[in-house]
Amino acid sequence: MSVTAERSVQAVHVHPRARDYPGSFLDGVIPNESELTCGTRIEPGKSYGFFTDTTLCIGCKACEVACKEWNALPADSVGFTGMSYDNTGGLSANTWRHVAFIEKRGPTGTRQTDQDAFQSGWLMMSDVCKHCHNAPCLEACPTGALFRTEFDTVVVQQDICNGCGYCVPACPFGVVDLNPLDGKAHKCTLCYDRLKGGLEPACAKACPTDSIQFGEVPELQARAEQRVEQLQSLGVAGAHLYGAPGGEGATGGLGHLNAFFLLTERPETYGLPPAPTRPANRVAPGLLAGLATMAGLALGALALLGGGRR
């Protein structure tokens, strides 16, 4: 490599191992390619996820396209939704990444007609399965089709799923969906097959602004905290994390979200629940309430029947 080329490689902070692959055409897959693309070596037993910084999202939808391409997902909702620039609509069995376009409203709830220079009236967020630490979909699955992988992600095994659909209402984020064509539940796998091959997930790799960052969850959480501090020091007072441990979005026994977000507005603005909960939390109160009702009815019947005999 020439001196000039070496300097240019150093200038853009390329991983040192990238110098081993100077050509455009490769003989095969680069071992542990994720080290070169996102600085993370993928190893079983560690916890991996996404940190989505919505302040960096430009709404290009490269993540949506990369996801569809890699996972061979068909284009759906063919037609024009009329919902601003968002023609995807939402997450579904055939759409595992969704870039939401939210036009900010003024204080009176109407669209602002004037704006400061270089400011955007748009919020963009690439939504995805959160791969919850305590995943309600996994808890609700009666067949064990939903399982936790060696990378701490949640995946549906298609050959075991019987299409009962219990996971669909269990998800507090409305992520899991049934496909009526094949009768099975589908959602983001965090590119399980790519992780096994040492590759960064397709959406994170395709993101041109690094709004979607892939890595080990503790490392991403630390990075996200730093980014919030940086944004707040720059005057973005509303910058906060959604899904970080103990914070907003990681409520109701969910633990934390392996795919978490940096938001600048309230989560409802982005279509996220402000306080999601595990349905399993309601099993014990529901069971106790049912038993108490049964006991009350039995006592009432005994009192009526006993009184009638006297």
Partner: protein, 76 residues
């Protein structure tokens, strides 16, 4: 119903890409009514098998729903 003949090139879950002789590639989804299971598709892809898919257009999707899949020849 329509029949498509070609090589299974990519498989993901119950979905696969079928490349026909004219070079065009179609996205097919295995129907719940088909006499085949998603885990059988990976073997067809590895063997670069030539198959005939009996399918219909998927409603509101750019793809085809496969009702019947016949293996014509396995080249590997």
């Amino acid at each position: 119903m329509r029949t498509l003949e070609g090589i299974v090139t990519v498989v993901q879950e119950g979905r696969f890409l079928l490349t026909t002789d004219d070079g065009s590639t179609h996205l097919l989804i295995l129907s719940h009514a088909a006499a085949a299971e998603p885990h059988q598709l990976a073997a067809l892809q590895r063997a670069q098998s030539r198959v005939r898919a009996t399918c219909r257009p998927a409603p509101d999707l750019i793809g085809w729903v496969v009702r019947r899949l016949d293996v014509l020849e396995a080249t590997a």
